[in-house]
Amino acid sequence: MFNSIKQEAMPDHIGSRRQRIGYILAEYGIILAFIALVIALSFASPYFLRMKNILNVLRQTSVNALLAIGMTFVILTGGIDLSVGSVLAFGGVVAASLASDALFGPIVNPFLAAGAGLLGGLILGSVNGVFVAKWRMPAFVVTLGMLSMARGFTFIYTDGMPVPRIDERFLVFGQGRFLGIPLPVIILAVVFSLSWVILYKTRYGRYIYAVGGNEKSAKISGVNTRFIVFTVYVISGLLSALGGIILTARTTAGLPQAGQAYELDAIAAVVIGGTSLSGGQGALSGTLIGALLIGVINNGLDLLGVSSYFQQVIKGAIIIGAVLLDSFRKRD
């Protein structure tokens, strides 16, 4: 599965041993960094590699990984979605409001509540998509506006208060386990697999890369470029809402302030994973590794008792380092 991160054959002109090592470092640097970090942390803290902690990291990572997968679709077309954190909150409270008697009274079936949350994400994502694809506005501006609007809708909807008393059955989405594996991790695995199939096995996936690589050329080749661009924002909206549902179930309340600044971690995961912000280049597996790397850093540094202030510095340095590595790779 990870071979898709390596998008091109090794160039012929790379001959000497030193160049070869440099190439491998640049090409697989993030995976190597990830492995090195895991080894280092497993020595530093005996607790780190325990199954319980591993599952914990995966569970903590799952929400950001979902947002980052949606973000990968968007960034591959050359766009950006800054509204994911707000859409997450919106989807989360919409689902919460139907899975609790606090707002409207009757509690509905948990799947119906989750479905309503997803619908909320789909609608907001579609609005982003229409403005970017149909009216050709810059994605940065549109989704920046949506970041504010969706957050506003969320506060208006809940009157600024958390939605408490969530139905036990709904909490399963965040706290349930299947064969000992947390449900959010299983949801992530399913979403990742589906996304991977869509991106690498279908026409639609190929069109996403083509639109991001050269929109004009894709259009001339008969691709309905506007439709493709529209859909990636819908996907991002849906996955953001899914993240919100999981978060609501995990925190046992629909929090209108949930997901603030989550767009930054999502973009960071995509960028660390080697996807080009200009579109058309990158891989879904890289995004997953990027999200895991961020999760492991947060978890490992927590275990070691490093202050969260330092964690931010380290995370930032890794983002810049990853992009630097990437620019070396592209320089050949």
């Binding site: 054959a9 160039p11 026409r203 083509a210 050329s217 001339i220």
Partner: protein, 505 residues
């Protein structure tokens, strides 16, 4: 060194990985003269100019200005030593005024930082006056035509006190009338004792303004002749090093049946009332200058930028092309003018590029059938003998000729009936050109039709069965093969003369 030349170059060589871009080139420019440098694409003209200006560093040889050896590490040093270049592609700052553009980086200031716009405008006006160019230095650059921008660039060079002015294909983007103005200015500069290096491959210009001509071919110095003592044929032969005819392959037979007919196709403000037809087995050439609406006409035919009005008939049936997919379904393929901008997805592989317009037929439901895809791509790319280490190679790593073959492969896989080719051989080597000509002939001969836009006159004349001329969005003429000369075509395209008038020329 003893030399009375303004600029002298001896034994200059420049090596790029795998290519000797310049091989032992000699060159001499006298005071008050115009020295033309000519050669085909890839002959090394631009490399020579870049080495002279200090953009590239030479690997061997010597350069002297006023007899003093020089070695420029940057264009800035070349400028300071009195050498300027007017690039082929001009890059003015459109929102700034003419004066600000001329003195960019050398602004007049008071107390070190306060911009003195008035002084800058005054100096700009003086320089423009000196060379007799009537342009108001206060207006914004974006208000000027390409030709005027060029004159401003020349004024800028003069303002640097440049003794040597290099002009790289200065007439490639401007109409003939403006070119006349440029030539008059060159005369003025000559009288002032300046030396002009004039890079071009247009024989007519070279013979009307230059004193000396130097020919390069494949990076090698072929020779230098006083212009008065040589002929066009001699220079052309020096440039190509062989007979002209061998380059083209033409073997198709035109039939009676009309493949495509266009009636009064109009896109307001771009092109108007274009009517033409092309027969099965025919190659129709379209000749026109940049901005004549020729490429936009293709985009409308193909549905990429639909026309406002007019009809398109394919094999007698009217069709409407609102998007490229419509035209593709009707058997039309478009090879665009700029393969990097609109023909290819440069970051993607050869396989992904070729299969892009064909994915529907290579899929089972929404899923791509990888095996069928690879087989189809392999087959078509072998037919075009695309040279690539593997189908996973990123296309940006291929040569221009091979990139163009990838574009042709991706369209031919769809088995189109009508092929629209916009500058199909631009920027590719002679071998690949020949292969593409051979393909065009064969394709037409199989009962298909080709429309080819080209601004290479010899190519249009050699490959077309009929030639249609565009000017300013109008069709200004149509001629059968063999009944028109290069000069007549050029006049029709630049002055819009109707056939009757131009045939009297």
């Amino acid at each position: 060194m003893e030399t009375d030349a303004l600029l002298e170059v001896r034994g200059l060589s420049k090596i790029f990985p795998g290519v000797k871009a310049l091989d032992n080139v000699d060159f001499r420019l006298d005071y008050g003269s115009v020295h033309a440098v000519c050669g085909e694409n890839g002959a090394g003209k631009s490399t020579l100019m870049n080495v002279l200006m200090g953009i590239y560093q030479r690997d061997a040889g010597e350069i002297f200005i006023h007899g003093n050896p020089v070695s420029f590490l940057s264009p800035r040093q070349a400028l300071d030593a009195g050498m300027s270049i007017i690039e082929q592609e001009l890059n003015p700052v459109p929102e700034m005024s003419v004066a600000e553009n001329m003195f960019l980086g050398r602004e007049e200031t008071r107390i070190g930082f306060w911009m003195d716009y008035k002084a800058v405008r005054k100096r700009a006006a003086e320089v423009l006056e000196e060379i007799g160019v009537k342009i108001n230095p206060a207006i914004k650059m974006k208000a000027l035509s390409l030709a005027q921008i060029q004159l401003v660039e020349i004024a800028k060079a003069i303002s640097y006190d440049s003794e040597i002015i290099i002009m790289d294909e200065p007439t490639s983007a401007i109409p003939e009338r403006d070119a006349e103005r440029l030539f008059r200015l060159i005369e003025v500069l000559k009288k002032k004792g300046k030396g002009i290096v004039y890079v071009s491959h247009r024989m007519k210009e070279i013979f009307s303004i230059s004193d000396t001509v130097t020919v390069l071919r494949d990076g090698k110095y072929i020779g230098t002749k006083p212009t008065r003592e040589t002929s066009r044929d001699e220079v052309v032969n020096m440039m190509i090093g062989r007979k002209l005819e061998a380059e083209y392959v033409k073997s198709n037979t035109v039939t009676e049946e009309v493949a495509l007919q266009v009636q009064n196709l109009t896109k307001r403000g771009v092109f108007e009332n274009i009517s033409l037809n092309v027969h099965k087995g025919e190659i129709l050439g379209i000749f026109g200058l940049m901005g004549s609406g020729r490429s936009e006409f293709f985009e409308a035919l193909f549905g990429a930028e639909p026309a406002d009005s007019g009809e398109i008939y394919l094999f007698g049936e009217e069709k409407v092309h609102q998007k490229p997919h419509d035209a593709m379904r009707n058997g039309i393929a478009l090879v665009t003018e700029d393969r990097k901008k609109s023909g290819l997805v440069l970051k993607s592989s050869v396989r992904d590029n070729i299969s892009l317009p064909n994915l529907k037929s290579l899929s089972d439901g929404p899923f791509i059938n990888r095996r069928r895809e690879t087989e189809a791509v392999k087959k078509i790319s072998d037919q075009f003998s695309v040279k690539t280490p593997s189908l996973s190679q990123i296309v940006s790593r291929l040569s221009g000729g091979n990139q163009q073959k990838v574009v042709l492969s991706k369209w031919l896989l769809r088995a189109p009936k009508i092929l629209l080719l916009d500058e199909p051989t631009r920027g590719i080597d002679v071998g690949a050109k020949r292969e593409i000509y051979a393909f065009m002939s064969k394709f037409a001969d199989q009962g298909n039709a080709v429309i080819m836009i080209s601004s290479e006159l010899p190519e249009v004349l050699a490959m077309s069965d009929r030639i249609v001329v565009f000017k300013d969005g109008h069709k200004v003429g149509e001629r059968p093969r063999g009944d028109v000369t290069q000069e007549q075509l050029m006049r029709m395209a630049s002055e819009g003369l109707k056939e009757e008038e131009s045939s009297r020329v």
